[in-house]
């Protein structure tokens, strides 16, 4: 009966026959010690070998020698593989997950994105003391959701070394899409260095892994394009911020090998399909530090879930996945041919790759990597239409609105004279004509949609948000790329109350000293937790004062991302906040207890971009 419970989507007779025939072909030869769920035929109701199926699962954590990218490595392993096995639960079960620590250091497992009792959340020092060497900790919780999630260590920097795996929960009821086969694609960034020395390198020299700094040749190219004064001014501006405009990621492909299901691009892990099938890809970014841009040249991908939650389908050619996010996409390869699954690191310093093919041993062309992008105006928030809308609309239209997203306060350390000149260049004649006037109307419309407390109505996008942009290094004219604005729920989430209050937090950092924090205070410097009143409905506003993306993760409660979709805003466990951006989410503080709240870039969290949220 466990078997029949695995597939919850309806299959027509013909589809069942097709699938059965495909599975009859047999399994693939083992390719080193890979996680069992990374079998090329994927997971179906008749092939569940090697998956740790709930409700009772035992996991043993070890440190052992395993080949990664063909080289000797010592990752953390879970039941003998790294990354760990896929844990498969079913909505409605009472999960019993026994984790045994066979290391000589403490460890933990956090079930990322799951709504569960606080003492089962797996964060040492917040939810529980951690799991000491030789000990077994039993996690028990009711499974009250379904979808694609993952799990990982929340102890030190263990997650960097493969201490992670996929967590799939099958739905109790029919999902709003159907498919014939599914594959899990877990993206990770592996380093052969000791994570502690990676961290030390970042502390001592921020640009340590960034070999893409601008050179004197770039300078003269810029002078040709932009003129000497503008170039010198831009350089001066970045120098004042103690940053390089090519700080896209702080740890890069110079130390990372990007892995897909534990395999390097050269190993070319293969996901199999039969032509004509609809395939569900459960994409998980289990990286420590790396954002990816994912595409499958030749195939349209239809996004059907974000962070495990169903969304109205969005056909796209590419999507950006922040650290710790998950997306479920459907693809329908019609031809008996191979397709490259291409996950390019956001800073273009490398990529993870696999192949979607009807048979083993096939490969398709690997796309050319794009050039590294420069962080230009967009990092200042004075970027594109949306940024312009707000600054351009100025005082008269925006009365009563919160200007903090645009005034100097969140531009710490910036020279205002250079901001002035940037604004002018952005807003000169032709650009003004290109402004989207429907957005302006939308803004004045939103003025009328203030709630009784004088705040923006629930679901409205904050001024300063850029939900219609995928972010740096993406050219929206090249192909259709998913943006946060696209995400829409099927039905409103249960709590329809307007927010009673707003809590604004600034994402702050000092690149030179590699210090990362909320509101300028590292975790070690704050005196107490952030307090949520039990059952209150609040709006969390995140303002990114830094020049990097931060994936912000709240444990224990959903964040309803106010992307302008009104009642149908999506809910997420991890929100990507772009440089200079201001985003907001509604939260129902129904989970009593202490919860972790942090940037999911591992070294940022470790450096202090972490808080405890206490609901009482």
């Amino acid at each position: 009966m466990a078997r029949s419970s695995v597939i919850t989507h309806p299959l027509s007779r013909r589809q069942l026959l097709k699938g059965g025939a495909a599975l009859g072909i047999g399994s693939a030869a083992a390719l080193g010690l890979r996680p069992a769920w990374a079998n090329p035929w994927g997971q179906t109701n008749v092939y569940s070998k090697g998956v740790e199926e709930g409700p009772e699962v035992s996991l043993a954590i070890r440190r052992e020698s395993i080949l990664i990218d063909g080289k000797e490595a010592r990752p953390f392993s879970i039941n003998g593989t790294s990354p760990g096995p896929m844990i498969r639960l079913k909505e409605g079960q009472d999960a019993v997950l026994k984790v045994t620590n066979l290391l000589n250091e403490p460890t933990s497992i956090h079930w990322h994105g799951l709504i569960l009792p606080p003492e089962m959340d797996g964060v040492p020092g917040v939810s529980f003391p951690g799991i000491a060497p030789g000990e077994t900790f039993t996690y028990r919780f009711p499974v009250r959701q379904n979808g694609t999630y993952w799990y990982h260590s929340h102890s030190g920097l263990q997650e960097q070394l493969g201490h992670a795996g996929p967590l799939i929960i099958d739905a109790a009821e029919r999902e709003p899409f159907r498919y014939d086969r599914e594959h899990v694609l877990l993206l990770t960034d592996w380093t052969f260095e000791d994570p502690m020395s990676v961290f030390r390198n970042l502390k001592t020299a921020e640009g340590y892994y960034n070999f893409q700094e601008r050179t004197i040749a770039d300078f003269f190219a810029d002078v040709r394009e932009k003129g000497f004064a503008a170039t010198a001014e831009m350089r001066g501006m970045w120098a004042k911020m103690r940053m390089s405009s090519r700080d896209i990621a702080d740890v890069t492909g110079s130390t990372y090998t990007y892995l897909l299901n534990g395999h390097s691009p050269e190993e070319n892990w293969t996901a199999l399909f039969q032509a004509g099938e609809r395939v569900r890809l459960r994409v998980i970014n289990g990286s420590a530090m790396s954002y990816f841009d994912v595409r499958i040249p030749g195939l349209k991908m239809t996004v059907v879930a974000a962070d495990g939650q169903p969304v109205q389908p969005v056909p796209v050619d590419e999507f950006r996945i922040g650290v710790a996010e998950t997306y479920d996409v459907l693809v329908a390869p019609e031809d008996d041919t191979a397709y490259t699954i291409f996950a390019e690191a956001m800073d273009r310093s490398g990529y993870a790759r696999a192949t979607l093919a009807p048979r083993e041993g096939m490969a398709a062309e690997i796309p050319e990597r794009r050039k590294i992008a420069d962080r230009g105006m967009e990092a200042m928030g004075a970027h594109g239409m949306e940024g312009m809308d707000h600054s351009g609309m100025g005082r008269s239209d925006m009365q009563g609105m919160d200007h903090s997203g645009m005034n100097g306060s969140d531009m710490q350390g910036l020279d205002h004279s250079s901001m002035q000149s940037m604004d002018h260049s952005d807003m000169s004649g032709s650009d003004m004509q290109g402004m989207d006037h429907s957005n302006m109307r939308g803004m004045s419309g939103e003025q009328n949609r203030m709630n009784a407390n004088g705040m923006l109505a629930a679901g409205a996008a904050q001024p300063g948000s850029r939900y219609n942009q995928a972010g740096i290094g993406i050219d929206p004219d090249t192909r259709r790329v998913l943006v946060y604005r696209d995400l829409r729920a099927f039905t409103p989430w249960p709590d329809r109350r307007e927010p009673q209050r707003e809590l604004e937090l600034h994402l702050t950092g000092n690149m030179e000293r590699y210090m990362w924090s909320f509101d300028g205070k590292k975790f070690s410097e704050v005196t107490g937790p952030i307090h949520f009143e039990k059952d209150e409905r609040l709006r969390l506003i995140l303002v990114n004062d830094t020049m990097m993306e931060h994936p912000i993760h709240l444990h224990g409660m959903w964040m309803e991302l106010e992307n302008g979709q009104g009642e149908l805003i999506p809910r997420k466990h991890t929100l990507n906040v772009k440089p200079g951006e201001r985003v907001s989410a509604l939260i129902t503080a129904d989970a009593e207890g202490s919860w972790a709240f942090h940037c999911h870039l591992l070294y940022h969290m470790d450096a202090g971009m972490f808080r405890v949220v206490k609901v009482s």
Binding site: Y179, P313, P315, L330, F490, T491
Partner: protein, 164 residues
């Protein structure tokens, strides 16, 4: 669901074809008297029930389609290529404004390839609408689909076998 599909398939296969319709089918103009049978279709969020129909060439069918989902859906009959062309058009329209539909509940003709028309209707959540259609004699299979961007791709289509 599976049982009802089987029952419907059997009853449809046994039906005799009276067949008065012209090629390509016609809908609202056909008087009730000529309807051979009524086929119930459920349009849910990203699926049709049933997912497969057997219809004899020339048969005149009254499709009674009920939208039981949370979203607007359409029901369009046509061959695979025409459906794909319609889908691409709707995607292009959806990218600029709205979902490419103006209003709902009405019958309209969806643009197919080469300007060809396909019988179609659009349904709001909770709405039931009928469409009368005569199966053409010159094709083996047709597709019924919802071509609102992402819906077909999520599996919202079914197949009409006209082979007999």
């Amino acid at each position: 669901m599976r049982k009802s599909l089987l029952a419907m398939t059997l009853s449809l296969a046994a039906a005799s074809a009276i067949a008065a319709g012209e090629h390509g089918g016609s809908h609202s103009a056909t008087p009730d008297a000529k309807v051979d049978r009524t086929v119930q279709i459920e349009a849910g969020d990203m699926w049709f029930g049933p997912e497969e129909l057997n219809i004899t060439a020339g048969e005149t069918i009254r499709f009674r389609v009920t939208n039981t989902g949370n979203l607007q859906h359409e029901f369009v009959i046509g061959d695979a290529e025409a459906q794909e062309a319609h889908r691409e058009m709707m995607q292009a329209m959806g990218d600029s404004h709205g979902d490419g539909h103006d209003g709902h509940g009405g019958h309209d003709m969806a643009e197919g390839a080469h300007g060809g028309k396909m019988p179609s209707m659009t349904l709001a959540p909770g709405e039931t609408t009928e469409l009368i259609w005569t199966a053409p004699a010159d094709v083996d299979t047709l597709v019924y689909a919802c071509n609102i961007p992402g819906h077909y791709e999520s599996g919202m289509f079914g197949e009409i076998n006209l082979g007999g």
